[in-house]
């Protein structure tokens, strides 16, 4: 079984047409679906939050069969994720893409369950992103923007309250479990 780091690649990763954007509609739909799933799975397992189209991304090329995605193909597959709310363009030029392997509301639920399970009540933002408690979990290294949007959703539901510290990067959150 082929691997990319510790990620197990599906067999069709060696199927050359998988790397050529298919022009026929039905075939392309299926191809796009397979790429969407693979991108999300890969990003989640590797804790990757952003993909830059300008830089090499290991998933987008297969040296074994000497195939790689064209820029157009990359944009098509990511745009398909964006249209489903599983990704967001970070700039107008579509050069960087934020991957939401959990949707914002799924993140909110995930955080809530996490603090519940661990008996945590007050955390700073930085503690969530790089603290000891979240180390090794999916919350480690979470995109700051994504985290803030998830927390704000919780705040709206009355499940959390964001408070400001002395400086801008010293915000905290109090969960009401």
């Amino acid at each position: 079984m082929q691997r990319l780091g510790d990620f197990r690649l599906p067999p069709f990763f060696n199927y050359p047409p998988y790397f050529t954007l298919q022009p026929v509609r039905e075939t392309r739909e299926k191809q796009v679906q397979l790429w969407k799933d693979l991108i999300l799975d890969y990003c989640r397992s590797q804790k990757i939050h952003t993909i830059s189209l300008e830089e090499d991304f290991p998933l987008f090329s297969n040296p074994k069969i000497e195939r790689s995605l064209s820029h157009e193909a990359k944009e098509v597959f990511l745009a398909a994720l964006v249209s489903e709310g599983r990704a967001e363009w970070m700039d107008k030029g579509h050069k960087k893409c934020l991957i939401l392997w959990l949707r914002i509301q799924d993140w909110a639920n995930f955080i809530l369950n996490f603090v519940k399970d661990n008996g945590l009540e007050v955390m700073t933002i930085e503690e969530i992103r790089s603290g000891i408690d979240t180390r090794g979990t999916e919350l480690e290294g979470i995109d700051r923007g994504v985290l803030m949007r998830a927390l704000r959703q919780l705040e709206q539901k009355g499940k959390a309250a964001i408070f400001k510290g002395t400086s801008a990067d010293d915000e905290g959150v109090k969960f009401s479990v």
Partner: protein, 446 residues
């Protein structure tokens, strides 16, 4: 009314697309649409209505297009042809005898022919031209054809004409007494001599040309004769070995491609040019199409057709127009345009399904599963031109049968596995099926 009614005329055979079948050495001279043939003095003979009239070197063929039946009037029986005129009414008897429908044709041109009918009977018939056509040109050609008496020229007799004249002229010049070249009369004489020799050269040149043309005709006849002989042989000697059969086949192909004996030209067909060309083309492409598996690129047909026509070349536009007329008539071939713009001629019975099945089985061979197929691979397997093979592959891709792989190595097609893959569980592989077959081939190669 079909032409069958006029049984006082010998019937003429018609090709599948509705063109008259010409006999050996018979050449088409002119065509007139919408022609009636009316016997003028014998009401016992049934008239012919609304026929296409083809004047050949041997016959006047009246072709009833809707029923695809035809009658032929041999030119040999024409005793006299009267110049075309509008109907005259000085004969009161005729107005009595003529039917009501013919009286309405008084404004039409009529060409009256006196013909001899067996046994030793003479009739007068009129060709009534009901459309606006150049009747004078037709009449001119008719007279030419009658005078040429092509039907009397036995195919073997052709070579004797032309050549001996040039040989006979030479010795006469040698014994001519040469006058001394002196004074004004000498100059005049020299001038005259140079004129004469120039004239002689010209004549010789044309004689050579005539000789060449008659030779060419001979060759065509020879080719046709050999072809027929081969055909007969191959049907009788079915037990001859393969190699012999192969060479016979080659020979036959060679002879077949010698040409169309009487090509439709703008000159002979006039306004009917494209229509008649279209029908002749339909007859012509049938055999090459069968050999090519039911489909040929238009370009290839153009080359073949023009080669068969010899010197009477047609333009690509004429060919295209001739092909597009097929929609309106009942012929077994059709023009087809692929999405890419490539135009082909195919038989109406040609089915894409069969081609797809062959492509599909080709793409499922272990080698193709791993490396895909290129248009030239498909061309080789299907026995067609690479450009056509590519069209078939693109068509199969469109149907979801194949999908493409574009890489620096080129443009290749793979059997479409996307629908075989379970999107819910991308690591799973069914124990059977195409995807599994592909995986085992792909694993073995890496």
């Amino acid at each position: 009314m079909s032409a069958a009614a006029a049984d006082w005329l010998p019937s003429a055979s018609v090709t599948a697309s509705g063109r008259p079948v010409l006999s050996t050495g018979e050449v088409e001279r002119n065509l007139l649409p919408l022609v009636d043939l009316e016997p003028e003095e014998n009401p016992g003979l049934a008239p012919l209505r609304a026929c296409l009239l083809a004047l050949t070197s041997h016959r006047l063929i009246f072709l009833h297009e809707p029923s695809r039946s035809a009658r032929g009037l041999p030119l040999a029986t024409v005793v006299h042809a009267y110049p075309p005129h509008r109907r005259h009414s000085h004969n009161p008897l005729r107005s009595l005898f003529s039917s009501s429908s013919s009286s309405s044709s008084s404004q039409h041109h009529r060409i009256r022919l006196q013909i001899s009918m067996p046994p030793a009977r003479s009739e007068v018939v009129a060709i009534v031209v009901t459309c606006k056509a150049d009747v004078d040109v037709f009449f001119g050609r008719l007279l030419e054809a009658i005078r040429a008496r092509a039907w009397e020229v036995a195919p073997v007799a052709a070579p004797s004409s032309g050549t001996p004249v040039a040989e006979g002229a030479a010795p006469a010049e040698d014994i001519a007494i040469r006058m001394p070249v002196v004074g004004v009369s000498g100059i005049l004489r020299m001038e005259q001599e140079s004129w004469e020799s120039a004239g002689q050269n010209l004549q010789d040149a044309f004689q050579d040309l005539n000789a060449l043309m008659s030779k060419a005709k001979e060759m065509m006849q020879l080719a046709e004769k050999m072809r027929l002989k081969l055909l007969m042989n191959s049907s009788t000697e079915s037990n001859s070995n393969d190699e012999e059969m192969g060479s016979k086949q080659d020979m036959q192909d060679l002879l077949l491609s010698v040409g169309i004996v009487s090509p439709v030209t703008k000159e002979t067909a006039g306004a009917l040019y494209h229509q008649q060309l279209s029908l002749q083309l339909a007859d012509f492409v049938r055999i090459p199409l069968e050999k090519a598996g039911g489909m040929m690129a238009l370009v290839d047909v153009y080359c073949l057709f023009n080669r068969a026509r010899g010197t009477e070349l047609i333009s690509p536009e004429d060919l295209l127009q001739a092909c597009s007329l097929w929609e309106k008539v009942d012929v077994p071939v059709m023009l087809r345009k692929f999405d890419s713009g490539v135009k082909v001629i195919q038989t109406k019975t040609h089915s894409d399904e069969e081609v797809f099945a062959r492509i599909s089985s080709l793409a499922q061979k272990p080698d193709a599963l791993q490396k895909g197929i290129s248009p030239s691979d498909a061309a080789f397997t299907l026995g067609i031109a690479p450009a056509l093979a590519k069209e078939h592959l693109l068509n199969a891709e469109n149907k979801g049968l194949l999908c493409r792989d574009v890489s620096p190595d080129g443009f290749r097609f793979f059997i479409n596995l996307f629908n075989e893959i379970d999107a819910q569980n991308i690591y799973s592989q069914k124990p059977h099926g195409l995807y599994n077959a592909w995986i085992s081939v792909a694993m073995a190669s890496h």
